[in-house]
């Protein structure tokens, strides 16, 4: 192996390798789990009334008669080619089905993260700069309350209040054909349901790292040079204080995708979550597999993106002088 020079490229390469490991590990795990499904998958898929010949033929077509390691390799091969086979229920290529719903899940999770940051970060900054004030206390109670509330509970309450009781917002669906405005209004409730817990989380994290940062000697330097307090907080301190929040975000996307599954099901939105959910309830395992794989891929990519953002903010990471998540907390 050639030696990689230290610095940005080495850092980038190491993060890509990590992401690749996550994906490979997850595919293997996924494969193992499908092997654990009780009984012959062909039987399960074809149902109790299938003839023995049909089951054998189906198993052969699915490659179920091959040894385990060959099937694993085959599975990897399929994944790399993006060939997840054809859905036996709709007769459509599974890849198409996944790609069709992926944008909905992406829109939902990204808007939830954006909302959490747009509200959580300023809230945290405010709390940090007014420690033990009324606002800080209210924010503390609220955020702890919000963090500990499961998002599916929030989803149901939001639905009840805003869609059914007040009738301000449409109840269900994504508004696929209703134009961009309709799509956006239908995004409001599920996004809020996902974001609410995260707002509290981001606010708490930002507050604590902001308080820590404001006590750093370099902040005293900024003050000693007469910089405006708002500039000190939102420029000099925030760029340092957002690092732990960013680091946590990377890992948090995993949880977020999980929560998105519930939100999609509750709000009857198309998306990877709904795809997986219907797949499970109809025992359509190839579709479940492909859906879970898509989520794993998104998770790995979100992680990679966070690491890049982290390196973009902190030059010491680019230089390979310190690690990401482990370094600060």
């Amino acid at each position: 192996m050639t030696r990689v020079e230290p610095g940005p490229w080495r850092y980038f390469a190491s993060r890509v390798v990590t992401a690749a490991f996550i994906v490979v590990g997850a595919i293997t795990l996924l494969f193992v789990l499908t092997q654990l499904v009780r009984g012959n998958p062909a039987e399960v898929l074809l149902g109790p009334r299938a003839t023995a010949e049909a089951v054998a033929e189906f198993a052969r077509r699915m490659g179920l008669d091959l040894p385990v390691h060959e099937r694993l390799l085959q599975f990897f091969g399929q994944v790399i080619r993006g060939d997840f086979g054809v859905d036996i229920i709709s007769g459509r290529p599974i890849l198409d089905m996944v790609l069709e719903v992926m944008p909905f899940t992406l829109a939902l999770t990204f808007s939830a993260i954006a909302l959490a940051f747009l509200i959580g970060v300023p809230l945290g900054c405010y709390a940090a700069t007014h420690p033990n004030g009324v606002g800080d206390r209210i924010a503390a109670v609220l955020s702890v309350g919000l963090i500990s509330m499961p998002s599916f509970v929030v989803s149901i309450y939001l639905l009840l209040v805003f869609s059914i009781w007040l009738q301000w917002l449409p109840v269900l669906g994504a508004g696929g054909s209703g134009g961009i405005l309709d799509q956006l209004t239908r995004l409001v409730l599920p996004t809020s349901a996902l974001a609410i817990g995260w707002i509290g989380y981001v606010a708490r994290l930002t507050r604590s790292s902001m308080v820590e940062t404001l006590a750093e000697p370099y902040i005293r330097t900024s003050r000693a040079y007469g910089l405006a307090e708002s500039k000190i907080i939102y420029k000099y301190a925030l760029k340092n204080a957002c690092l732990p929040t960013l680091a946590v975000l990377g890992l948090g996307t995993g949880r977020l995708f999980g929560e998105a599954v519930f939100a999609e099901v509750i709000f009857a939105r198309p998306g990877l979550g709904t795809l997986i959910y219907t797949g499970i309830s109809t025992r359509n395992y190839p579709v479940v597999q492909a859906g879970v794989f898509a989520i794993v891929l998104l998770f790995a990519m979100a992680n990679l993106a966070t690491d890049m953002a982290y390196a973009w903010v902190d030059p010491r990471i680019r230089a390979g002088l310190r690690g990401t998540s482990a370094g600060r907390r």
């Binding site: 330097t221 900024s222 040079y225 007469g226 405006a228 307090e229 000099y236 030059p315 010491r316 230089a319």
Partner: protein, 323 residues
């Protein structure tokens, strides 16, 4: 040229609230800084030098209790100024160089950002291009090679000596009336220290104002400063022009300090500790002289009556009954 000093501190007292109780860190400091002079402030570690510097800037840490006494800067009463007017003095008429250049610069901003924002805060009305040009010139002036590159560098890419030069550049960009340098070389190794000291000496040609040079080393201060103030356990015990102080030390602590340093090649806190006895605990209440417990000349009144700072010769003040 006006006669009254640029900075005049009287009876400055600062307490900190700590988990062990109230720490009396400054116990009535008297100090004058004349215009255009370099004043050395010497005292062993923990005597309250940095606290004094922060009190002047109005940047005491949050656990500092109410501040006693007065600090007059030119015609401004610093202790009774609004936060806003203090802020406009900082980085404009008063600048500070901190002890540890490794932590005093923000790790996620470039040297250029640090320097340009100092000019920005000063509000000179110039544009960004002009600021950049001034920053470049200043980096060259403080002896940083390849300033174009360094302007884009982050603090971690520079050595300790280079970072301290950046701090000095920040301070000089403000063209202050008062420059406070708090042990600017203590965190650096000896060869770098010599370079920084000669840079500070050179700075005199750029800084028309006064410099308060804080150090724990009498040797360093005697090389560099016009006047010397000696600090012990939160109070200035003696102040005089350098030559006068070394020729004619009056306070027993100053004498002990000079004795400890004489005939020794290098300077550091080690020798100061060879004065018998222990430094006064900041938590202790001391009605008398803070040095009495360690003083060989102490008489009964030294223990229960605080000696006032008084003039014993022109420009030579001392706080001691026996001087």
């Amino acid at each position: 040229m006006s006669e009254f000093p640029l900075l005049s501190i009287r009876g400055l007292g600062v307490d900190f609230t700590t988990s062990r109780g109230r720490a009396h860190v400054l116990r009535g400091v008297d100090l004058d800084i004349a215009r255009g002079r370099i004043v050395g402030l010497v005292g062993e570690s923990g005597s309250g030098k940095s606290t004094l510097a922060l009190a002047i800037l109005g940047l005491l840490p949050p656990n500092a209790g109410s501040v006693q006494g007065s600090i007059r800067f030119d015609d401004v009463d610093l202790l009774n100024s609004s936060a806003e007017s203090l802020r406009s003095l900082r980085g404009h008429r008063i600048a500070m160089i901190f002890q540890d250049p490794m932590t005093a610069l923000n790790p996620v901003f470039t040297v250029g950002t640090h320097l340009r924002d100092v000019l920005n805060a000063k509000g000179s009305g110039e544009d960004a291009m002009e600021h950049n040009k001034r920053a470049l010139e200043m980096l060259a002036k403080v002896g940083i090679p390849d300033p174009e590159q360094r302007l884009k560098a982050y603090p971690h890419e520079l050595s300790g000596g280079m970072r301290q030069r950046v701090m000095i550049a920040m301070a000089l960009l403000t063209t202050p009336d008062l420059l406070i340098a708090d042990e600017p070389t203590t965190a650096l190794d000896v060869t770098i220290e010599a370079q920084i000291v000669s840079l500070i000496r050179e700075m005199r040609t750029h800084v028309r104002g006064s410099i308060l040079f804080i150090s724990h080393s009498l040797g360093l201060v005697s090389e560099l400063c016009d006047d010397v103030a000696v600090m012990y356990a939160g109070a200035v015990v003696e102040q005089a022009p350098s030559v006068e102080l070394f020729a004619n030390p009056r306070h027993p602590y100053t004498r002990a300090l000079i004795d400890c340093e004489i005939g020794l090649d290098d300077d550091d806190g080690q020798k100061l500790r060879s004065i018998p006895g222990e430094v006064l605990d900041p938590l202790a209440v001391a009605p008398g002289c803070t040095f009495a417990a360690r003083c060989s000349l102490a008489e009964p009144r030294c223990h229960d009556q605080a000696p006032q700072f008084r003039s014993v010769a022109p420009k030579h003040g001392v706080a001691c009954f026996r001087a």
